[in-house]
């Protein structure tokens, strides 16, 4: 019985890992397998003639480096803004009762109900007027608008999960509201906030429509790849695809301890 359960358990884990890892592996294989490896059929499972040639070629193409930098800038600004605006909004939703609270919650979600395609033209015009057009910051603003509802609602539930009495205890023992937040609430909410931040980063990193519409020369990586990949050779596309996935993976890997940390179970 126990053996059976173990078998099922591990099969499940292996299946889940394969679900995520196999596609990534094949993309990596395409990206590093060299020009010939991409076209070979049947595909070899093991890397045969690995080379960085495709990757190098890709990175040397004009504009790729700049596009990556733009992407990173936009994603970081998105991340910072979503947390800076979303976490306080979430805290307010979690801790204060105010008239129209439920309507406000709904309203936050409704911002996602406007299709970006409809907003694209007026946004472009407005951005050109203010001078935000074709800047990473402008793109980041739109991405923040996309990520913010998520950031606010997730952090609201994060703060809600932290017992109010913990904060009250901090007040009793001499903390101001802000001190109590910084000393008690924030450390407890940090894993969740880190996850929210990563999510905002990934939303921005992967977003292509707004980025394509709002930039011409200062493209983000996704927008750039969209325009160039159609005319590129296959191994070149794999290299681009690989570059698109890597940051998300690295990022999530880097903060995994916050994602998994449970106080007292995982030691810090």
């Amino acid at each position: 019985m126990n053996a059976l359960r173990r078998t099922v358990y591990f099969t499940g884990i292996v299946a889940l890992c394969a679900w995520v890892l196999v596609p990534i592996y094949f993309i990596a294989l395409g990206a590093f397998g060299g020009r010939i490896g991409v076209f070979r059929w049947p595909k070899s499972i093991l890397p045969t003639d690995t080379s960085l040639a495709a990757m190098q070629l890709f990175l040397q193409v004009e504009g790729v480096g700049q596009a990556m930098v733009n992407s990173i800038i936009a994603a970081c600004i998105t991340m910072a803004l979503s947390i800076a605006l979303g976490a306080p909004a979430g805290y307010a939703l979690a801790r204060f009762t105010f008239p129209g609270q439920n309507a406000y919650r709904l309203l936050i979600l409704l911002t996602r109900a406007f299709p970006l395609a409809i907003l694209a033209l007026p946004l472009t015009v407005a951005f050109i007027r203010i001078g935000l057009y074709d800047t990473a910051f402008g793109v980041a603003l739109i991405h923040t608008a996309l990520a913010l509802p998520f950031a606010a609602l997730v952090s609201a539930s994060l703060f809600q999960a932290i017992p109010r009495e913990l904060e009250e205890a901090a007040w009793v023992f001499g903390c101001t509201r802000l001190q109590a937040f910084l000393k008690v609430v924030l450390p407890l909410a940090l894993p969740g906030i880190a996850a929210t931040a990563i999510f905002a980063f990934v939303i921005s990193w992967n977003e292509v429509f707004a980025a394509s519409v709002l930039t011409v020369r200062n493209r983000t990586l996704t927008a750039y790849l969209l325009t160039v990949l159609a005319e590129s050779p296959l191994h070149f596309r794999f290299a681009g695809g690989f570059l698109l996935i890597v940051p998300s993976i690295v990022f999530i890997f880097a903060v995994r301890k916050y994602l998994f940390a449970m106080w007292g179970i995982a030691n810090r």
Binding site: L166, E168, A169, V172, C175, W263
Partner: protein, 352 residues
């Protein structure tokens, strides 16, 4: 000086009235137990004193200073929460040290105070642990230690020993009382354990439905309850209430004549289980034993008298088979006379 004056504090949640004009004066260094059934507003009152809950009306004055609108941190009090509220991301040591750190105490003082509080509550072995690795009772003791460590002038405790085993609770109770008396801490101690309240408090405030129905010394609350509620809630077993009728200034209990506090009318005679003298010859109030519980120090008899359930304390070694008929003679000086309609005690001329 940290005397507390609670002046007509009221609290409504929506339409529900949780506190109904509570007025309470607590002297500096006094230990008050708030005793009452679940939901009577004990926690709400503590939270209003601490400034964690808004009040609907009234004032709280500590040490002559009206602190009704002072933020919690500046009220100069410490609190033990009903659900402990121990910080899960800090070690036990850091939890206990938290209040002192906020007061910017120097490291040596912190160390000494934490050690003292930890020793008192027997939590020294866990100082380096995180609360997630403690049992409920251990966490509760951390919460008490955290409050004691700051040596507050006013200490509010919300059922601080509820999760401990009987032996430990007895021990902690005694130590807590000694420490708080020595430090001269003004304490409000919420409990619904009436033996705890009796053992610890200088005065007991019995709450019921958002009001304080009686506040008095433990012995007075026990033997001179002001209402049938207090008599039934305080003391184990609860007080017996025997319905009687006075006629021309006397009450007749199966041939036993008692002087009535009122010439005519229906009354309740409140009599503690230990205030009966037993007579095997059947003299006095007829009482049929239903159950006898030998409790070591005494035997508790439950039975009926004219259809009315009574509890009576008998000597420990007697044998009381079911359906034994006994005669009961209540001690007339210890009877609390209550109005049958209102359930409130009549004014007594005899002192408690």
């Amino acid at each position: 000086m940290a005397d507390i004056k609670i002046d007509k504090i009221a609290k409504t949640f929506g339409n529900a009235r949780a506190l109904d004009e509570i007025t309470l004066d607590i002297a500096d260094g006094e230990f008050i137990a708030l005793l009452g059934p679940s939901g009577c507003g004990k926690t709400t009152l503590l939270r209003i004193i601490a400034g964690l809950e808004t009040r609907s009306a009234g004032r709280v004055i500590i040490g002559g200073r009206d602190i009704s609108d002072t933020p919690t941190r500046a009220r100069g009090l410490a609190m033990v929460f009903q659900n402990y509220a121990v910080f899960p991301h800090m070690t036990v040591y850091e939890n206990v040290a938290f209040g002192l750190r906020m007061q910017k105490a120097d490291e040596a003082r912190i160390k000494a105070q934490v050690a003292r509080a930890a020793e008192l509550l027997h939590i020294e072995p866990y100082l380096e642990r995180y609360p997630a690795k403690l049992s409920g009772g251990q966490r509760q003791r951390v919460a008490v230690a955290r409050a004691l460590a700051v040596e507050p002038p006013v200490l509010l405790m919300d059922e601080p020993l509820s999760n401990l085993d009987a032996l430990l609770r007895l021990e902690m109770r005694a130590e807590l009382k000694a420490v708080l008396r020595e430090a001269g801490t003004t304490t409000i101690y919420v409990t619904h354990d009436q033996t705890e309240a009796m053992g610890l408090a200088d005065r007991i405030a019995v709450m019921h439905g958002g009001r304080i129905v009686q506040i008095d010394k433990p012995t007075a609350v026990y033997s001179r309850p002001k209402t049938t509620f207090v008599g039934g809630f305080v003391g184990s077993p609860p007080m017996n209430f025997l319905p009687v009728t006075a006629a021309s200034g006397a009450i007749d209990l199966d041939g036993l004549s008692l002087a009535a506090p009122r010439p005519e009318g229906n009354l309740l005679a409140g009599i503690r289980a230990e205030d009966f003298a037993l007579s095997h010859s059947g003299e006095g109030l007829a009482f049929d034993v239903m159950v006898a519980e030998p409790l070591g120090s005494h035997t508790l008899l439950t039975g009926r008298s004219h259809g009315q359930m009574l509890r009576v304390v008998a000597p420990p070694n007697g044998d009381y088979p079911a359906d034994t008929r006994l005669g009961l003679k209540p001690d007339p000086n210890r009877i609390v006379w209550m109005d049958a309609a209102s359930g409130e005690a009549l004014r007594q001329e005899t002192a408690a």
